[in-house]
Amino acid sequence: MAGLLNWFSQVGAIAKFGLMSIPQRRGAVSATIIGIAGVVLVLVGVLSIAAGFRRTMLASGSPDAAIVLRSGADSEMVSGFGRNEARLIADAPGVARNAAGPLASAELFVIINLPKRSTHTDANVPLRGVEAAALAVRDHLTLTAGRMFAWGRNEVVVGAGAAREFAGLEVGGTIKVGRESWPVVGVFTANGGVAESEIWTDARVLQDAYHRGDSFQSVYARLNSAAAFAQFKDALTSNPQLSVKVLRQSEHYAEQSEAITRLITTLGFLIAFLMAIGAVFGALNTMYSAVAVRTREIGTLRALGFGNGAVIAALMIESLLLALLGGTVGGGLAYLAFNNLHAATMNWQSFSQVAFAFAVTPQLLLQGVVWATLIGLIGGLLPAIRAARLPIAAALREY
């Protein structure tokens, strides 16, 4: 017990000398801290794109809601139903109902060109035709400006993300569909979900404008409960009149975001990994210089009877402290710079734009700190071992 205490006080004494010599080598020390902060900043920054994108996708679907596509279709773009099939789906068991009937919305999904506000170049913006139940089958749909479009009229409401990203999408603006101009009468939010990137109108109006007859591309349904999904799915897939694919909305959106999250995550890790290697070299440099500056001091302490283990531990502590400081600075900067930064990108699966916000999540920050700690450990270990290995006599002769 006393030995342990003694050991701790030895470590403390050496660490204190080390920390006190920091002003003397402030150049190298701040370079290390900033180097590690840079790694964490870039890591967290890049991954926050993927996290934000995934968050938007996951916010879009609750487990008690389902989407039905034609079988074989991996997105609404290539799916299609007639009116009869849509009705069969809406009447299937498991679908929730209210006074107006089943909570199911048969929808149409097309794309129109609108200029991005940031670049003034055309982008593919989703235009969705919905039925009255559309609001009930999605969570947290709220109008924040203007009013809902009137059923049967050539009017649209736009998601808040779309309104932010694309020119002309504000209450009072118009969009051109074919040769007609349709007024924008309202703006809605959907808890940050994909719907916020879309323009909505009445499905029948869109069918007419696009000469689609009485056809739809998907059916969105609210179920009695999350558990009712199996019943609903079985009923549809076993119905010989239908050839459909049934998914929980959450599954559907996870599938939709998979490619892009994979791309960003792969590249993000690769970049951060390379940067981390660079930072390890930087940290090694600093800690070697920390040891070099104090070779004589450490030699003296060891001559006085301080143990090798204490020398190593003290140097590791110093290195870790610097790394954690760097990691905290990097994480903090990433949070300030990137959290909630708005952006829009192409979702290849739906061939259209998705507006989202970068998300610097606690997990990402934690990940950043873990990387910083690893860099500090690796950067501190070798120099610490060198310091402990140095023959005492040689160390005393230094300088």
Partner: protein, 383 residues
């Protein structure tokens, strides 16, 4: 050059420190090379776009189809040399992850429009002779180990919802390093024939490419094309190929900005690490620099020595890093198909080299100034 051994001697004075700094710089330039390749893959198409080509698509969106009859009408418009069409096939080969583009085209006119696709003449003849024939770019052929004579099954969820089978009759190469050789092209007559049997979508195509007679008149020609189809059920939007590709890249997001941001952070970091190492190295030998000055070295020569040392370090690290990046990138797209044009352009190699030199100058400048400001008598006292 007569000072080279002195510079080299200084660099090897603390071998470990020099090696670590060199590796830091090296890593920064591997990253530079890597990000350059990513940027090239995402926005490089803009530079490769034909200056004499226009893209014509449906005004409302590219997913809406245009009548095939527009081709003849376009070719009658003054200023238009030729028009060809393509159609998004959206097919899946075995797994949706194996993404590459497919399109039906009219072989002879299509290959004339895109001289950057190089197809051996006998393969072209075979394509013209085979209704179900298809040609594919080198990259995709290598990716799936396809050979001429293979039958390629491709399931299209858009067209007929069936698995189409094509006979691979040719493999084309790219004329330029950045030419996209990932697409598969098959015959439009075969495509339309199958559509007729199902009575769905026949006579419709995705978009057109026009070659203009005079690139200087491209804007006028584009306006005339759009006027030709104004007030029809399928109005068009015509723009230069470069603008079309740029808009496409912008849809992905502002890649150049993101890449520049990351590189900025990386280089700032490296600058600090290298700079602090250099000034430490200079501080340690103030006395020696004083001796050199006593011997008769001028301030300029001392400045040159320190700058040469830092530049040698960064150019060495930068050169090795770029070389390593080049080797890694030559092994191909790390995402497995999402980045079809993944390579390190020569221009970026040069830029990287220039950057490494600049890095050496910037990091060396402060310590070098320290060294020259030093009065000889003071430096000697610090021995």
């Amino acid at each position: 050059m007569r000072f080279l051994h002195l510079i080299w001697g200084n660099l090897t004075r603390k071998k470990l420190r020099t090696a670590l700094t060199l590796l830091t710089v090296l890593v920064a330039f591997v990253l530079f090379g890597f990000l350059s390749a990513i940027r090239q893959a995402l926005v490089g198409g803009v530079e490769l776009a034909g200056a004499d080509r226009l893209i014509v698509r449906h005004k409302v969106s590219i997913i809406q189809l245009l009548p095939v009859a527009y081709q003849a009408r376009m070719e009658r418009i003054p200023g238009v040399a030729a028009a060809v069409h393509q159609t998004w096939f959206g097919g899946i080969y075995q797994d949706p992850k194996n993404f590459f583009m497919q399109s039906p085209v009219v072989p002879a006119e299509f290959m004339a429009m895109y001289p950057e696709f190089i197809l051996p003449p006998e393969q072209m003849r075979a394509w013209l002779a085979t209704r179900t024939g298809a040609i594919v770019g080198r990259k995709t052929a290598e990716r799936f180990h396809w050979k001429i004579g293979d039958r390629i099954p491709i399931m299209s969820p858009i067209w007929m919802r069936k698995t189409w089978e094509f006979d691979l009759v040719g493999i084309f190469d790219g004329r330029d390093k950045g030419t996209d050789t990932t697409a598969l092209y098959f015959r439009y007559d075969y495509f339309d024939e199958v559509r007729q049997t199902q009575n769905w979508g026949q006579g419709l195509v995705g978009w057109y490419t026009i070659r203009v007679k005079d690139p200087a008149q491209a804007a006028d020609t584009a306006r005339r094309v759009d006027e030709e189809f104004a007030n029809s059920p399928a109005e068009t939007k015509t723009e230069p190929e470069g603008a079309f590709v740029q808009a496409w890249a912008n849809q992905v997001g502002n890649i150049t900005l993101i890449v520049a941001g990351i590189l900025g952070a990386v280089f700032f970091t490296i600058l600090l690490v290298t700079g602090s190492t250099m000034s430490q190295a200079v501080r340690e030998r103030i006395g020696e620099l004083g001796v050199l000055k006593a011997i008769g070295f001028t301030n300029g020569q001392v400045l040159g020595l320190v700058l040469a040392e830092s530049c040698l370090l960064t150019v060495l690290g930068g050169g090795l890093g770029l070389g390593l990046a080049w080797l890694i990138i030559a092994r191909g797209d790390p995402t497995g198909g999402l980045l079809p044009m993944f390579f390190l352009p020569g221009r970026d190699l040069l830029l990287g080299f220039g950057l490494s030199l600049a890095l050496g100058l910037v990091t060396g400048l402060l310590p070098a100034r320290q060294a020259t400001r030093l009065r000889v008598a003071d430096a000697l006292r610090r021995l």
